[in-house]
Every structure is written in C-alpha cells, then in structure tokens.
C-alpha cells in the first residue's frame, strides 16, 4: 500500500472507528456506574433488534420497524419542508431585491426566526385543530428562515456586471428573474435549502412528541412513557443517522448545481 492510501485509511476509517468505540465504551461505563437508568450498549442492541433487523415490519400502529417510522417522519418533513421552500424562496427573492420590503420586514423575520418549534406547535393546534396540519405548520415555520435569508443574501450579492447586462439588454422583469437573478443567486439559495432541511428534520421530533403521531419522534416519546429506555437511544441514533444522510444528500445536489452553473 502507498503511504497516501494508508493515511486515507487511517483518517477516514480507523480514527472514526476508534472514536465511536471510545464513546460506546464511555456509555457502557456510565451505564454500570453513575447512570444506572441508562441502558447499556449491549442491552440497547438486544431490545432494538426486532426493530432494526425487520425495519419495515408493522406489528401494530405504535409497534413498527424503525425504518417504517422513519418513512412516516420523512413524509411529514417533506410536506413542511416543501411549504417552507414554496413560501421562503419568493419571500427571499423579494427581500433581497427590494430595499423597501427589506426595511419593512427584516425586523419581524429576525424576531420570528429564533422561536422554538415547541412554541409554534400549540399555535398550530389552535389554528388547525388537528395535530397533523399543526405539525406541518410547525416544520414550515421553523425551517423557512435559512431559505429566506440565504436567498435574499444571494440576490444582494449578484455582481454589478450582471445587473448592467440586465439594464443594457433591457430584459423584462420575468426574463431578468429567471435568466439572471435566480441563476446568479442559486448557490446561496442551495445553502439555504440545505440548512432548512436540517432544521425541518430537527423539528420533526418535537412535532411528533407533542402530537403523538406515528414516526421516529412519536415512537421515542411513547417508549419513554412505556419505560423502554433502550428505544429512546435507538431513536436518537436513527434521527442522527438520517439527519446526517439528508445533509450529505443535499451537499451532493448543491455541488452538482454549482458545477453546472459555474
């Protein structure tokens, strides 16, 4: 093996594996000493086995394979995320191109942005009366902001050269928007889309915990109430892995787009 190959192997396989093993070791140690209620790694695996090895099994409404729950959650996230993009992108475009609009609405956006999903959900329940749309509402409200702000930043960062092109060619509003402004702002917009997806996935757990809908978050809360703490850890790991996968996926899409437009 060449030296660089060894280095790569160490950097990307060996060291991460050691890190994971180390944390599992600490977890095992903690569960036998300071935190007796914390299920040990081994016990967690034993109890989670049916959910992991038969990930799409449906044994009952609240007793399903972990990937089946994940699928429900992803569906809910997709709905809220889609709404966030459909509202957030045009909002960002207007915010970036109109100084008047930016001055009027920037303060309110800055105020709404840090509000927790736990605060939006009750309002959603009041507005829609049912848990399902309330959850979608919460995801949309929380995940919209990075898309709005990054799209606006992208529009504001359009090089002056392109603005001059729009002027000397006398491009119509719609041509300028679709042929110049959106393509020029696209790299920023994609960063916003990626951050929004991260938040949408973050919020799903809170939304499902409070509404008790079947999904990873709902399952987590139900197993807490059922005193099966091993499944809490199973859910946490699943949420983390899925979030990581979603982020990687968006990064790949982002890179493809940047390569295509550069």
């Amino acid at each position: 093996m060449k030296r660089s190959t060894v280095e790569k192997w160490v950097t990307y396989v060996l060291l991460p594996a050691l890190g994971i093993l180390g944390v599992i070791g600490l977890w095992a140690l903690a569960s036998t000493t300071v935190a007796p209620n914390l299920p040990s790694p081994w016990k967690t695996w034993e109890t989670s086995k049916p959910y992991v090895l038969e990930p799409f099994q449906k044994r009952g409404e609240l007793d399903q394979g972990i990937l089946r729950f994940t699928w429900y959650s992803l569906g809910r996230v997709a709905k809220g995320y889609a709404i966030a993009l459909v509202i957030g992108t045009p909002l960002g475009l207007v915010l970036g191109s109109s100084r008047l609009f930016a001055s009027s609405f920037d303060p309110i956006i800055q105020i709404l942005r840090p509000v927790s999903p736990l605060a939006w959900l009750p309002l959603g329940l009041v507005l829609f009366g049912k848990p399902e749309p309330a959850g979608t509402f919460t995801i949309a409200m929380c995940s919209m902001w990075p898309t709005v702000l990054n799209t606006a930043l992208g529009v504001r960062s359009i090089p002056n050269d392109y603005v001059n092109v729009v002027k000397v060619l006398q491009l119509s509003k719609s041509r300028a928007l679709f042929k110049v402004y959106i393509p020029a702002a696209l790299p920023y917009m994609f960063t916003g889309f990626r951050l929004s997806l991260g938040i949408a996935w973050l919020v799903i757990v809170a939304a499902e915990m409070l509404t008790g809908a079947p999904g990873v978050g709902g399952f987590l809360w139900q197993e807490y109430n059922a005193l099966i703490y091993e499944h809490i850890i199973l859910c946490i790991l699943t949420i983390g892995l899925v979030g990581y996968a979603l982020d990687r996926l968006m990064m790949l899409v982002e890179r493809r787009f940047k390569a295509a437009t550069a």
Partner: protein, 279 residues
C-alpha cells in the same frame, strides 16, 4: 444634429469637498456610420463616459442624445460591450445571444430569432461554438460572443468599453482585425473607448483624446485618413500613421503633465520611441 451628441456633459462622484469631478464639460459628436475612438489613460473616466452614453448613469450637467432622442436610461438602441466578460456563465454562447435577440425582437417567430442568433455567431466566427458555456471559451472568444450579442440586437450605435483590454497581445491583434472586418460588413455607428493609441488608429475614422483625470476633458479630434482595410504591418511604416500617433501621444502626455508626475504617465504609454523617430 449629429447621430450621437454630447453637449456640456459633466459627472462627479460623491458630493461636496469629498466628491471628485470625473468628467468636465464634454462635447462630442458622432455621425451615422462613423467609427469614433476615445483614447485616454486608465482611470481617466473612460468607463464613466461610456456608462453615461449607455444610460447606466445620469450626467450631473449637460445632455446626451442618440439618433435625435435624449438619453434618459439604458435602451436597446445602444449595444454595449463591456471590458470584463459580461456573459452569463450559466448560459451557452448561443443562449447568451438569444437572450438579447428575444428581448430586442419579441414579435419575431422562434425560427427568425434562431436564424438571427446563428447569423451573428457566424459573423464573429463562432458558429461552431454556440453550445459552449463561457467557461469553456477563451477570453477572445468570449468577447466575440459579447460583440455578437450587442450586434444581434441591431442597435443604432455600438458602444465598446475597452473590449480588448483584458486580452493578451496576440488575441488582441486578431480581434482588432475582426472588429475592423465586422465594421466594414455592418457599417454600424461605433464609439470605441480604449487606452491603446495604435488600436484607435487601426480602427477609427476619428480619434478624440480624453485628458488625464480628475475632471477629464476631451481634446481636439484627430481625423484618421488611412485607407481601409488597414494592414497592421504597412501601417507601422506609414508616415501618416506615425504623425497621428506622435500628435496623439504628445497631446495625452501634455494633458497628464499638468496634473500628475510625468513618470506615472510615461509608464502607461508604450513605445514612446516612435514619437522621437517621427519628430
């Protein structure tokens, strides 16, 4: 009334004590079908002058008119080629030209528009490269696309803002020939802004020097009475070429001496040797 007419045009950036006057009391006329070059130093306000005519900025004083109409903003009657490649990088060469054609001829059928795009890409010698994006084209090819885009709109006047400024010497020479050829075929009214005296003499009917900034003013017009097509090699030996070159450089240097130390000026005028030889 002349085709392009500037009268008493002044422009400052900023205001009060901190403001700088860039252009002072400019008067300029260009006749229909004429090729006029404005030559000046870097930073003299050449781009400001062009932006004024293009309508991208408004003059503080004076008026500008093109084809009898007062300039109040940008318009498709003036085709502009900028110094930096202002092509849209996410569109192919063909799409870049098509964007302008679609805007300038909205009533034409798709087929007519496509023909027009092809015609102008062919005119600049890029019929084969229409499918390429700007990043796949050389600097010279990009400027050709920019010229095709400006011409395809069928403007009344073509404004060239140091279009070859960012190119290497060889590409520059070949594009100068190209511009001369296109102008001969098309006979558009052209206003070329450049810092290259030789380029101006090679291409223009008339050359007007712009004095060293700040508060730059236009000098007397120099008529270039050399036959076309002008052959670069023969030109270098032509006594009329040498005479115009000497006069222009002398005027520019004199305008610079009044405001800046002479050293800085000499550096920006290549080959002052020729001045001595002809004097």
């Amino acid at each position: 009334m002349s085709f392009v007419e500037l009268s008493g045009v002044s422009k400052s950036y900023g205001s009060g004590a901190r403001g700088t006057e860039v252009l002072r009391d400019l008067n300029l006329t260009v006749e229909r079908g004429e090729f006029v070059a404005v030559v000046g130093f870097s930073g003299a306000g050449k781009t400001t002058l062009l932006s004024l005519i293009a309508g991208l900025i408004a003059p503080d004083k004076g008026t500008i008119s093109v084809a009898g109409k007062r300039v109040t903003g940008p318009g498709t009657d003036r085709g502009v080629v900028f110094q930096n490649y202002s092509l849209l990088p996410w569109l192919t060469a063909r799409e870049n030209v098509a964007l302008a054609v679609g805007q300038a001829f909205p009533k034409a059928t798709a087929e007519e528009q496509a023909d027009r795009v092809t015609r102008y890409l062919t005119l600049v010698g890029l019929a084969q490269a229409g499918g390429k994006r700007p990043s796949e084209l050389s600097g010279g090819m990009r400027q050709r696309v920019a010229v095709a885009r400006a011409l395809a709109m069928d403007p009344e006047v073509l404004l060239l803002d140091e279009p070859l400024g960012a190119l290497d010497a060889l590409t520059r020479a070949s594009l100068q020939n190209e511009i001369a050829r296109i102008w001969q075929a098309d006979r558009k009214t052209v206003l070329l802004i450049t810092n290259d005296v030789d380029e101006a003499i090679l291409l223009a009917d008339r050359i007007i020097p712009l004095s060293h900034g700040p508060a730059a003013t236009l000098g007397p017009a120099f008529a270039v009475e050399l036959d076309r097509p002008r052959e670069r090699r023969e030109l270098a030996r032509d006594h009329r070429f040498k005479a115009i070159r000497a006069e222009l450089v002398a005027w520019l240097l004199a305008s610079g001496k009044q405001k800046k130390p002479a050293r800085a000026v000499v550096e920006s005028v290549p080959a002052p040797r020729v001045v001595e030889a002809s004097a």
